[in-house]
């Protein structure tokens, strides 16, 4: 299989999958879910087949069509996109397994629509990850927003629709208002929007404009949820848990930080941006987001909302790492995308499993739940440790690199932020873990149900999925060489030395 074909297949397979799901959805549920799983597996195989090539330094390209002179829809696989695509396509399999358990266990309606939109969102993610220029990236960025909207609004009642409106409103309006402007500005100045290592804007704009353009990009990519455009993420908590996993771990927010990292590395050029004082504010903004989101998370009583604010903080880790603009930090940004994905998907899977098995959503209800759901809570604890950054979990690896980058740059604000947020993370995650394992089950909290619901573990498929992701979280601590190897290629200095 030629790499060009593989790229096209990576886009076509989930699209065809969506169509097949639509057809088989009318026939039988099992058939539909088999199609989902087969599509996901096929996609993962295709995407993985590209990895060795990229490791060897190849950069396969496909130009689909020319829209306007100088503006193409084209794809080009580079390490950052490769990592993102591999991550998303692999997690899609696990997420599908989990979805089947969750959707059935919870007896959700409109399941076919759910699986179709999920496949479409993955298509958009693949296009986004492989995009060769800003135009293509924007196309798939919007497609991702639109295809996830029905997922967020899945329940369809008034409250859900209202929250979904916030989701769509923030993402669509920031992208149209700011990101599109930034992209057209880039095309206007540079004559193209191609992703070129080292950037395409060097010397073409005055420094103040570069600062403004960077701001347009950072705030335009609402998916990265940097404050103050983070409101949509807690709002999207109304979605079913597999969707939350899609948003937080597989695709959506990752697409946000991926876009920002890609823009910094390939449009501005990290070196060039580092030479300009006008770009310094980004680290402070990210640091502010990390600290304040962690403080807000500290005060949450709803588990999923707590996880949402934790995500906001973790995303800004990636942005801060990218904005430190030092080689190690850029690698750290990419690695943290993966590490956070593993950790957060585990946490969400656990939250969903608790909801399906016990219908519990509040933190206070979780006392003693570890004894009823040992697998789930074990996975949850691993995820929580990864968020804090305790070895041997994935979170430690990325924090190591980010901290290293911050030290390279001598950026004390960044160093302080990392330390402070680690403390805060521990402060809001450890009590939950403690409560779940070491406290007695509290009967007085369950006011909505007069009798405590007798429950054991969640459905098998769900437990299976969250065990896999928890294993991945730990596994990544030991086997991260390939990822590091891959991402070293985005840093030109390290590449040559």
């Amino acid at each position: 299989m030629s790499p060009q074909l593989a790229i096209m297949l990576a886009l076509v397979v989930p699209l065809v999958g969506a169509a097949l799901i639509a057809i088989t959805g009318r026939l039988h549920d099992n058939l539909r879910e088999t199609v989902t799983l087969i599509t996901a597996t096929l996609l993962a195989v295709i995407v993985w087949s590209l990895v060795p090539l990229i490791l060897d330094g190849e950069r396969p390209e496909v130009t689909l069509l020319q829209v306007m002179p100088g503006i193409d829809i084209g794809f080009r696989v580079e390490p950052l996109g490769m990592l993102f695509a591999t991550l998303a396509s692999s997690l899609w399999i696990i997420n599908s397994i989990y979805s089947i358990g969750y959707m059935r266990g919870n007896k959700e309606k409109n399941q076919t629509r759910f699986y179709i939109c999920f496949a479409l969102a993955i298509t958009a993610t693949m296009g986004l990850a492989f995009s060769a220029n800003l135009f293509t990236l924007f196309l798939f960025y919007e497609l991702l927003t639109l295809s996830t909207y029905p997922l967020v609004a899945h329940k369809g009642d008034a409250g859900t629709v209202k929250s979904a409106r916030v989701y769509l409103g923030v993402l669509l309006s920031t992208s149209i208002a700011l990101l599109l402007t930034a992209i057209i500005w880039t095309y206007h100045v540079a004559g193209s929007g191609d992703f070129v290592l080292g950037g395409i804007l060097r010397g073409l704009m005055d420094p103040a404009s570069v600062g403004l353009l960077l701001a347009l990009f950072v705030f335009g990519v609402g998916k990265a949820a940097i404050m103050p455009v983070h409101r949509w993420l807690p709002a999207a908590m109304v979605a079913p848990t597999p969707v939350s996993a899609l948003l937080h771990a597989v695709a959506v927010v990752k697409a946000g930080v991926f876009t920002i990292t890609k823009v910094i590395v390939y449009i501005f050029g990290a070196d060039y941006l580092f030479s300009l004082p006008q770009s310094g504010w980004l680290v402070y903004l990210a640091a502010f987001t990390i600290i304040s989101a962690s403080l807000v998370a500290l005060r949450q009583t709803n588990l999923k909302r707590l996880l949402a604010y934790s995500t906001i903080a973790q995303l800004s880790y990636v942005i801060m790492a990218a904005a430190i603009l030092k080689p190690m930090a850029e690698i750290g940004a990419a690695v943290h995308m993966v590490a956070h994905a593993f950790g957060k998907i585990t946490l969400f899977f656990a939250a969903g499993a608790i909801y399906v098995a016990a219908k519990k959503t509040d933190i206070a209800q979780l006392r003693g739940i570890g004894r009823r759901m040992p697998w789930t809570m074990a996975a949850f604890s691993i995820g929580a440790l990864s968020m804090i950054g305790v070895p041997p979990t994935a979170g430690f690896v990325s924090k190591w690199y980010i901290l290293g980058g911050a030290l390279q740059a001598g950026h004390y604000v960044a160093i302080f932020t990392i330390i402070a947020s680690t403390v805060l993370n521990a402060a809001y995650f450890l009590p939950i873990v403690y409560m779940a394992w070491f406290e007695k089950e509290d009967t007085s909290i369950n006011t909505n149900t007069s009798v405590i619901k007798e429950h054991g573990e969640a459905p098998l498929l769900m437990v299976l999925a969250l065990t896999i992701t928890a294993a991945l979280t730990i596994g990544f601590f030991f086997f991260n060489g390939t990822v590091i190897e891959l991402e070293k290629q985005i840093v030109p200095r390290l590449d040559s030395s």
Binding site: L65, E142, L146, V161, I176, A177, L180, W185
Partner: protein
Amino acid sequence: MDFAQHLPALQVIVPLLAAPLIVLLQPRGFAWAATTATAFFSFAVSIAIAVRILAGDILRYEMGGWFAPIGIELRVDAFSAIVLLIISGAAAISLIAARNSINQQIEDHRQPLFFAAWLLAIAGLVGMVVTADAFNIFVFMEISSLAGYILIAGGPDRRTLPAVFKYLIIGTIGATFYLIGVGMIYMMTGTLNLEDMAQRVVGIEDQRPILVAAAFVFIGLALKAALFPLHVWLPNAYTHAPHMVTVFLAACGTKVAVYVLLRFQFSIFQSFGEHLLQFALFLMPLALLGIIVASLVAMFEGHLKRMLAFSSVAQIGYILMGASLMSDSGITASTLHMFNHALTKGALFLAVAKFATQYADLRIDSLKSAARSMPLTSFAFVIAGLSLIGVPGTAGFISKWQLIMAIMETGNMGFIMVAIVVISSLIAVGYIWRVIETLYAIPTDDLPDDAADVSVKPEKIDMLLIALIFTVAMNIYFGLVPGLPLTLAELSSKILLKVEF
């Protein structure tokens, strides 16, 4: 003289001559079939013309063998070709889809007359575009307007009548203003041929009459084009017209006036003193205000058709704003947006017409949960709505891209304009999403019988739905492969700016 030379004449003559014949076709359905066939022939002719234009030709036709500037000349270049495509395409699609909707809204015995008026409207609109004679433009403008009044007056609601009356008064004033302007230019230059006029205007010493004439022409055409704040006739006329007439007029009605407006301002008055600068300085604030104000009104409008009508006023603002930049890329964007907006608004109004087959009341609130019974129509509305917002992958995005690119070329001042375009896009998100949410709302459970009743009646797959899906597909096609309209638009802007008349 090969056959292609006759194309411009055929474009006008065929619908013009077909109109009186249609009146004779009394049996049910015949009038519609003959009209549709004529419209498709017209469309074929304009495609043939576009092909010739893309090959680098300019088609000229001397009526009755009298050479210009004595005789009346028909003249088609790229700018005319793209507008011809818009008109005849809109006519063909709206007519082929019209059957059921028109049967619902127009009584049988009036249909032949109604369709004859429709053909006259087509003839008038294409006539305005192909002719190279200023007075001839007036005559065709009045043919199309009179026919247009008749078409709109076919609406079943009695509120149609005051709306048409208002349109008739304002339209006639606009045409008369245009006539005054042309008269003044004729006084100073002694010619009515546009090309000739453009050459003679340059040498005139006393510039004041020409400036006054330019103002008259501008105001007259701005009235016809519904440039803010001269748009007051448009929302009611669009709202109360028969649904298929709204499709047709919204796609091409005002654009032809914009066409003539740009022809005059650029081709004829371009090299005339400071005129172009004054024109731009006058036009730009109006266009910007129109974009913002009309979008805001659309945001708070409760009736679906009227909301889309106000959105049309805003879109006219986009088109004229591009022109007011006076640059190559600005006029390209503006011409391209004429094409793309015709596609988008055509699709949206087709969806409205389809909704109207099952919902008597077109207020947005009463379309609640329509997606249950009409999933395809609702989905088509979503895609067309995204094109109106300017989401990438749709035609609307291409023109928005071009427009913002053109604004950026103007330098720092442009940021205010970019901001306005962006803000109005956000408002468009607001008003389109309001409809989409209503369409896809979960029915409230307090009226279970009623809800079940609606969901039982499935969406009928008829020509209207097929035309709608086709138009929506075109929105996506031209959003990904905008080569054809883009090339024509680029050629148009070269023609307008360089006076290659």
